[in-house]
């Protein structure tokens, strides 16, 4: 058991605490804003995982898109809809305990299944040296993964246009202006 192993294990524990703890906070905290913040914490944990798993580029993506974009978006929309977010208001619906039970059982079952499985772990040297350069990833995205790459770009376009169409503040007089109602 070398020192690096020890650090890895230590890091793993820390990150796990971040991720799961953050996750728990996300689903339990009474204040939605705090929930969103702890989401960021949890995401950061995940990012750490990626680093630990030698997927540096992915970690960067996580940081930029997830933490950088999505979480912020969420925070904004929370503030947008904060109007009636009276703090201290109950954030759980009445079925939460059933949910908890079911989810826990599912987790147990899954864990059993996961530990039952014998994994086709790759060979030692492969494990030791996962040589994936960023360049390769870029090449892959415009190479074999070009089609999905194009598609996702279109998808993002659609999503953004749609978001604008639905969420854009419309001044109602113009709304009634150009909708000749059928009724």
């Amino acid at each position: 058991m070398t020192i690096e192993y020890a650090t890895q294990i230590f890091a793993f524990i820390i990150l796990t605490l971040m991720t799961l703890g953050g996750g728990l906070a996300v689903v339990t905290s009474r204040n939605l804003f705090h929930a969103a913040l702890s989401l960021i914490l949890s995401l950061a944990g995940a990012m750490g995982y990626y680093v630990l798993l030698d997927a540096g580029f992915l970690a960067v993506v996580q940081l930029l898109i997830y933490i950088g974009a999505i979480s912020i978006l969420i925070l904004f929309s929370i503030m947008l809809t904060r109007g009636l977010m009276v703090p201290g208001q109950v954030q759980r619906n009445e079925q939460w305990w059933i949910a908890a039970l079911v989810v826990f059982l599912t987790f147990v079952v899954m864990v059993v299944a996961l530990w039952q499985t014998v994994w086709p772990i790759a060979g030692e040297e492969a494990l030791r040296a996962p040589n994936v350069a960023i360049g390769q990833l870029g090449a892959a995205l415009v190479g074999p993964y070009a089609i999905p790459f194009e598609v996702i770009s279109v998808l993002l376009l659609v999503a953004l246009v749609g978001a604008i169409v639905l969420a854009r503040e419309v001044e109602n007089h113009s709304a009634s202006a150009d909708v000749e109602t059928g009724e």
Binding site: M110, A113, L114, Q116, T117, V118, W119, P120, Q136, A140, G143, P144, Y145, A146, I147, P148, V151, I152, V154, L155, V158, A159, V161, G162, V165, L166, V170, A175, A177, D178, V179, E180, T181, G182, E183
Partner: protein, 505 residues
């Protein structure tokens, strides 16, 4: 594979994408409410017709055997450079299918959109993008591509559902649809990840190869993965118990969108499900046939039973479409590649989908027409339709008969092949349940017939449904009859679209 070839193979998808983008751009050029705006649907229509043309054009390429669509084939990246998509009969079938859906929808939605919808350009564009997503998902052979295209389809669907911003039902339906869909797809994604872990690849064929190779005992994982994928796809198809979003979303969505939702995602879901199960998990057949058989039974039954109590036609048709999905599933459950009688459940599934396409879209077109003129989709809005607009009443009657499965209509052919497959596989139970259900379904379809023919309208004034709707309904009706009276080409089409899969099975 050189780029030119690739583009040729992707031609249909490109055409559709292009059309959608053009519509978006034109919408920006023609400012809101200008006269030229009304040409948007025609532009979209032209694009769709073009889609059909190019589909027919590329048919010879993929019509006989699968033709992989991939940019590079070199092995630099650890040998996972397998294609994302394929141009095979099934994919072509669904390209055609999509084109037809789009055409009928565009024809049917004109007046409705003009009357109720803002941001029409985006609306049409989204519908076209939805179609694109359908085509992609039907052609995808890679878990990544599948997930991507299904999400694409879902997101467009969410947006379209919530498109009536001023209508609380629409927005509410959208929220429910979104929450439900996002969760379901997350679950499915988790399932994908497990499958990836179990096999180390995302390509369906390779997955099958690994699993059949049986190098490693990973069954502990495949089954959970199967279930979680089923959640995602079941959500798309609206199979019980993953159906509950459907009635709310259908009722809330703008009626043309409802029509689209009741056909498009279902078809895509079935396409993916079929491809996934047959290509990736053939030797887990026993597992998924057992599960799906159960699902089929509860789907048919629950859909029909609950439909008995609906008084809103859109909601009623939502439940009916749930039940219909149950019938279709029988075809998948009872698939028999070795069948002598042309009744391999798979072609039954496709035939049924095809019949369902015309029938359901036709029915919804009528609903749209009625809603345009009465402003309501409640049952009593149909009162005395026979007097007010015989054309709509008669065609609607035809569609309802087809939904029940009474000859000479398309629905009959679908049921014939599906139940035939079941009987062939000695799954009498399944067939009987299906039969009993189609009898139950009469009760609520009769509710509509009764209103149309037996009750008197509040205002008996006749009304005109408008050219677009007339064409849409007419085409649908003709096809519904055609499929029964001249079934041969349809049967061949369906059979040839699946024989490749069946062979690989």
């Amino acid at each position: 594979m050189i780029l030119a070839q690739l583009l040729v193979l992707l031609l249909p998808d490109l055409v559709l994408t292009l059309t959608a983008l053009v519509v978006l751009v034109l919408d920006m050029i023609w400012r809101e409410g200008s006269r030229s705006q009304r040409f948007l649907p025609w532009v979209a229509l032209i694009g769709t017709v073009a889609l059909i043309a190019v589909t027919v054009l590329v048919w010879p390429l993929g019509g006989t055997g699968g033709l992989p669509i991939a940019l590079a084939t070199d092995k630099d990246f650890g040998g996972d450079q397998v294609p994302m998509m394929v141009l095979d009969p099934l994919a072509l079938f669904f390209k055609l299918f999509t084109a037809l859906v789009l055409i009928l929808m565009l024809l049917a939605s004109g007046d409705y959109v003009r009357a109720r919808i803002r941001f029409r350009g985006e609306f049409y564009a989204f519908i076209l993008f939805g179609g694109l997503a359908m085509m992609l998902s039907a052609a995808a052979t890679n878990l990544l591509m599948i997930y991507l295209s299904l999400e694409f389809l879902s997101i467009t669907s969410y947006l379209l559902t919530g498109y009536l911003r001023e209508d609380e039902r629409s927005t509410e339906g959208a929220v429910k649809y979104f929450v439900y869909g996002a969760t379901a797809s997350a679950v499915m994604l988790y399932g994908f990840s497990l499958l990836y872990g179990a096999t180390g690849t995302l390509d369906l064929a390779s997955i099958a190869a690994v699993l059949t190779g049986g190098a490693v005992p990973v069954h502990w994982l495949v089954y959970p993965a199967l279930i979680m994928m089923l959640v995602g796809l079941g959500f798309k198809i609206a199979l019980v118990p993953f159906h509950q979003w459907a009635p709310d979303a259908y009722e809330g969505a703008p009626t043309p969108v409802t029509a689209f939702l009741s056909v498009g995602p279902k078809a895509a879901g079935f396409a993916v499900l079929t491809r996934l199960l047959l290509t990736a998990l053939p030797n887990f057949r026993l597992d998924w046939i057992a599960v799906l058989a159960g699902v089929a039974i509860v789907t048919m039954t629950l859909g029909n039973l609950v439909a008995l109590w609906q008084s809103n036609v859109k909601r009623l048709l939502a439940y009916s479409s749930i039940a219909q999905a149950g019938y279709m599933l029988i075809g998948l459950v009872a698939l028999a590649p070795e069948a002598q009688s042309w009744m391999t459940g798979l072609n039954g599934l496709l035939l049924y989908l095809f019949a369902y396409l015309f029938t359901n879209l036709g029915a919804f077109a009528v609903v749209i027409a009625v809603e345009n003129h009465t402003g309501s989709a409640q049952l009593d809005a149909f009162a005395g339709l026979m007097r007010r607009n015989p054309f709509l009443a008669v065609t609607m009657f035809l569609f309802l008969l087809s939904l029940i499965g009474i000859p000479p209509t398309a629905g009959f052919v679908g049921k014939l092949f599906v139940f035939g497959a079941a009987i062939q596989r000695q799954m009498i139970m399944l067939a009987v349940v299906g039969i009993v259900n189609s009898v139950i379904s009469v009760y609520y379809y009769y509710a509509i017939m009764r209103q149309m023919f037996f009750s008197e309208a509040a205002d008996p004034l006749p009304f005109d449904e408008g050219p677009g709707l007339r064409v849409a309904v007419g085409v649908a009706a003709v096809m519904v009859l055609m499929m029964a009276l001249y079934a041969e080409p349809f049967i061949r089409l369906a059979s040839e679209s699946v024989n490749l899969l069946a062979a690989s099975f």
